[in-house]
Symmetry: D2
């Protein structure tokens, strides 16, 4: 039996717990949350025990931790888990401060624990298949990547500052996909952004609409289009273009029903948001983490990926703010 | 805890067992199979006990049975289960002999047990949604139904006689869908069929390609197109047409990836066969059965549906054989 | 210069005249119509001369005739044109009476003139390409054909008797496509039909909704679905299925625009009706006729095709009326 | 009769001549080309007379000129035509030198002649409809535009210098579309470009792959993706996104045929290149020019549009060269 400790009994923690329950030989032994009530309800539902971080990390039967608590606790819990020798799964971002992220990575490195980072989209069956075919040379030499990523609606404006803003909270996923698909580090970043949806977002110094262009050393180009509000649902598409053709990953829908009526032919909107769109990705991500604990594989996205995506996000933010193209070393 | 007895430890039994395991308060207590080795392996995997039918049916803690054994055992097990007061789930068909089916239904009626029949397609999320929208009046008055149903490859010819042939084994699913969607009993059946794929099928007196036209008393029309071999995969489409428009349920694919290359734009084939295409339907079907045991709902397809679909299949077979349109009373 | 005589200055005559005007060395020299005003207006627009049939057919510079007048005049004009040695293009049907059609064909045969019949769909670029790929063996051995053919709205009920009804006016096009695609004569016809759209149609002894199954001697099957009213537009689809795959010809739309909004993803309805849908087919049909006059090709659809399609239409009507499958000799 | 003079008897001149021939009351009276043989052949085919520019422009019966000669002759011919009081249609670009363009525009302004510029894509039925729906408020407030524009194969490298390179030859069309759709001038331009397809292009100082981001004063964003070689054909797509949804213009194909086989479901590639893709646009563009001569409408794209698109192209080139975002005054 593999015993896990879950930090954070919220919505994303519940997804991971449900996926763990599909594995007969894995269980969430401990759940830790500052909200005692939430922790207890959670513990009851999933047969776990409520405890504190020290106790959980001191338990030698616990081999892995899932960090799904608030962003400001990630780095601390990762460091403590690494020191306790646990295999780590952490939701992105590690931290919003690059220096803090580097400190955290040093400890993980020193204690040589495996660390998976929650870039769940890499596990989406469709994007995963696209990546696989790209690696297989289906489109020849990759030349351009286009990522469209739009949320159905913005988060409440008041929580935006804590998230780090559009580039570090939302686009960071797309920047990770860009790095993964380009298979080469971007060396130049240009961003242009606006507040076109909700003035309250702009008043907080954030943006809700953004476009980015990345370039790698060999000249590959990538463009990203972000919006906080697509009224037709969660728009998640990727297009990779190369010397032998193009692969496109399109939106997923609940069904393939179509209705032909006087207005035209109507098909379904994309699945509503990330919980629906990436349900399979969350499952596969957790499978990958469990296999990592078993020592049979490595994380598909790790702490270094977390650092590099954040660096790109910071560069994009700087570019959008200064109007300058930013060079990455 | 709801305790079930599973008759038949084969492929379809395994699907039901896996779906049962998603329900924390339901378990397969007993598994019964003429193949002792298969039964034991199965019991081990799902934590069940191997036993015989008498013992299982005599156990008062068992409230439901899943009959997934060979077709010739269905009616007998249904009758014995009904007499033992169990809620029944049985794979289709009840029996290939109409008189035997009627005997069986009489017992179920006498003992007033609920009985679900495995017309899994009614539970397919897409077809279910199509049916719902049809009932809601989305296309106004229904006028025509078109069902395309083609297997990726024929079963081994030698097992065909035991299945009852194309009409009673394969088209019976489409005839059930026709009844369900038409919401009115067909009163006329015409069938035309050929052996175009494998002469061995013809030598056994069966066909591999068939078209059927149904008509209801109010004049609604339905056409069915069947083939035992679509090289591009399991082709399962439904189109309903009415006074206000048309609804089409299209094939499901593994992903929505498309590749644009020198040959054209290539998207994925339909999911390979029924295990993939109807995975969600099998889950929903079992949920419906469990809710039936709990007394909170009724079977979406019951024993009467089994009888009526078989009567249509027999009529289609007679029409294809005689060249005459058959009238159903 | 090729000189033509056009019989019938109506809507379909205007289409042919416009297409003729694209050929710099072909002209409509004479136009003949019982409605003198229509004929004169037409003559003015297209630079033709109004005359009567005798004069036109006696003019030795006229080498071809286009018969686009009312159905009851077709056979007479064909016979007179054949006797005058003209190459004939005639809108379908030749006549609604099979015996009269045979008389007409005998004269054409005796005078050995080439005769094209207006089965315009054979010239539709999409259906033509489908036929070509079928002939090239793209789907291997053909096994099944499915034709969906639905008008946007029924003609005024009072004109229905003159048209010969749904089978001989509307489905005759689909029966011709079936013959052309099957590349083998149907030997069995079954039809089922209803009046579901407009009771006035039923009162005139006609139907507005019909399904047909055809079978050839080698066992190939074909199904046709007809409706006089598809509220989403002119629904013209063909699917051919064989041992190596399936070809589908889908509806044409004005543009490939799609709108994603709160209701879903909306694309355009099919083109409204035959004038829009088959505009290119009418052009290609006339090109074929002009090449026939020049002696460089033969009609893609000729008088024999007209006879055989009418025989199938009559058989379908008989089947729908009697409920019996009809055998064609 | 409207008499036109055509400058340039090449491929694009032939398209305009063919479209002129559809108008019974318009003719190409004169054709002027430095290649006397080409001019004579052309004159013969279209019933025109070969002459020189002076003679043609001095002819008072000539009211319009079509300038389809080489780029370096455009400005001179426009100036001379303006002075002669002719209505002008000129292929883009006016000139590759901004100062020369301004000189030219001044003359057109002084002589108050109407001038149409060959931004043919504005006339594409699909893009035109997209623009119309955008103007009608179909997607609410416009926020983002995405233009994908890829050629099937690069022009011969040796002609590239004369064209002005990717930004001024190819992307200028997309920059014009951007201006037209944004309905507001871009004030910032950022470009990133590479030579990834053919090193010979790079050796000439040009690029073959480029991405651009534009921003307007109100914060609307636009991204453009260009490639000189899409092996699957001419990829011409536009997506506009706003507060109430998204409109997408997709590629056009020769037919809507699909083939389902063992490899998947294959549909047609986009139409091969601009002659096929924009055939209807060229027709509509010429209709617009003829209506402009008649005084019943104004050019949909005029000389000012030519100047502004060139300014954006120059800015994009400067940005790609310097790595800086360029501000447009």
């Amino acid at each position: 039996m593999i015993n896990l400790c879950l930090f954070g009994a919220g919505r994303i923690g519940a997804i991971h717990a449900a996926n763990v329950s599909q594995h007969p030989d894995v269980q969430i032994k401990f759940v830790v949350d500052v909200n005692q009530t939430a922790a207890e309800q959670f513990a009851k539902q999933y047969g776990a025990t409520v405890t504190d971080a020290n106790t959980a990390l001191a338990d030698t039967t616990v081999t892995g931790v899932i960090i799904a608590s608030s962003t400001d606790t990630h780095a601390d819990l990762m460091i403590r888990s690494a020191r306790a020798g646990k295999t780590i799964f952490c939701e992105k971002p590690i931290d919003l401060n690059i220096e803090r992220v580097k400190e955290c990575l040093k400890v993980i490195d020193d204690f040589q624990v495996a660390c998976a980072l929650g870039f769940n989209r890499r596990f989406d069956p469709q994007f995963n298949q696209l990546h696989y075919q790209l690696q297989q040379g289906k489109i020849g030499e990759l030349q351009m990547v286009s990522i469209t990523s739009r949320d159905p609606s913005p988060p409440p404006a008041h929580i935006l500052p804590a998230t780090g803003g559009l580039f570090r909270d939302m686009m960071i996923h797309d920047l990770d996909m860009a790095r993964w698909l380009l298979d080469e580090e971007p060396v130049e970043v240009f961003a242009s952004a606006s507040c076109l949806i909700d003035p309250a977002i702009g008043e907080l110094g954030d943006v809700d609409t953004a476009m980015v262009v990345l370039k790698t050393a060999s000249g590959k180009l990538c463009q990203i289009s972000n919006s906080r509000q697509a009224v037709y649902g969660y728009d998640q598409r990727i297009e990779v273009f190369g010397s032998k053709g193009m692969l496109q990953a399109n939106n997923n829908t609940a069904t393939n029903l179509s209705f032909s009526g006087e207005q035209g032919v109507i098909t379904e909107k994309p699945l509503h948001f990330f919980l629906e769109r990436y349900a399979d990705a969350y499952k596969a991500e957790l499978d990958n983490f469990i296999e990592t604990i078993r020592g049979t594989t490595n994380p598909l996205a790790n702490q270094q990926d977390g650092l590099k995506a954040l660096m790109l996000a910071d560069a994009a933010l700087e570019s959008a703010t200064t109007g300058k193209r930013i060079t990455i070393n």
